[in-house]
């Protein structure tokens, strides 16, 4: 009978982080880029909580609380910026946003 070890959680958090990173790199839709950023933060959260649980220290969990706060504000501000940009440029694709080129 195989049990779940902290290493499994760490591998999973690495996977979540790398999937999010891949999303940031390959997607051109800025909305999806923001969502992938959220996924990366989630991977970090999983790692922090599993470390906090294994070392029986509450600090990691409290950090996750603050990370969630920051992520929520980041999404709100990012989406507001995106809407403002869409009103200016009529596009949310990152290749269309080249302010310096023309």
């Amino acid at each position: 009978m195989e049990t779940v070890t902290p290493q499994h959680f760490l591998v999973l958090s690495f996977l979540l982080f790398s999937v999010g990173f891949l999303g940031v790199v390959i997607r051109r839709n800025l909305l999806l880029v923001l969502m992938s950023l959220e996924l990366m933060l989630n991977g970090v959260n999983v790692a922090l909580v599993s470390f906090s649980r294994t070392s029986l220290n509450l600090d990691g969990s409290l950090f996750v609380f603050f990370i969630m706060t920051v992520a929520a504000t980041e999404v709100a501000v990012g989406l507001a910026l995106l809407v403002a940009l869409y009103k200016k440029r009529q596009s949310v694709f990152s290749e269309d946003i080249s302010l310096l080129k023309n």
Binding site: T3, T5, R28, L39, A76, F93
Partner: protein, 163 residues
């Protein structure tokens, strides 16, 4: 989620993965964080995302996917999968009979200088309002600043439209 071309299915897949992360938090006995994950992420953040997706009416990612791109993506994910399997094989993960999970103690709050992990909300709040008092207030201020910033941003774009 990241291979979905259309944003709406991507957002729905994202909700699934966020709820799964909440389930993992339950497994790690961080119940408050699990509730918070569902409420904040799967509730507020993803609703905001879906609202913006439908407000802007964004379609799928433009451009055809070329054959070489597809092949390189396939090769990359294959190599990544092999890497993960090797990592799982050789990183010394063995099935120990739950020796690495220490039992948690919900009565004791602090051990010397450090706060003890516990599943009870009382201890979470205790840590938040003693050791992390200043970060908590900074987080509250950050939320206020984000709220004001979002209002200013949306207002400015509205007034630009009127001109």
């Amino acid at each position: 989620m990241i291979v979905a071309r259309h944003p709406v299915p991507a957002a729905l897949f994202m909700i699934i993965s966020l709820v799964s992360v909440a389930a993992l938090f339950v497994l790690l006995e961080a119940f408050f964080l699990a509730i918070l994950q569902v409420l904040v992420y799967a509730g507020a953040v993803m609703v905001l995302f879906l609202f913006i997706i439908m407000l802007l009416d964004v379609g799928p990612d433009g451009g055809k996917v070329s054959r070489i791109k597809f092949l390189s993506g396939l090769a990359g994910s294959l190599a990544f999968g092999i890497l993960i399997i090797l990592l799982l094989q050789f990183s010394g993960i063995e099935s120990s009979e739950s020796g690495s999970w220490l039992a948690i103690d919900n009565v004791e709050r602090v051990n010397g200088d450090s706060l003890l992990f516990s599943s009870s909300l009382k201890n979470f709040g205790f840590g938040l309002f003693t050791k992390y008092m200043l970060p908590l207030q900074v987080a509250g201020f950050l939320l206020l600043a984000a709220m004001v910033g979002v209002i200013v941003l949306s207002k400015k774009s509205l007034s630009e439209e009127e001109i």
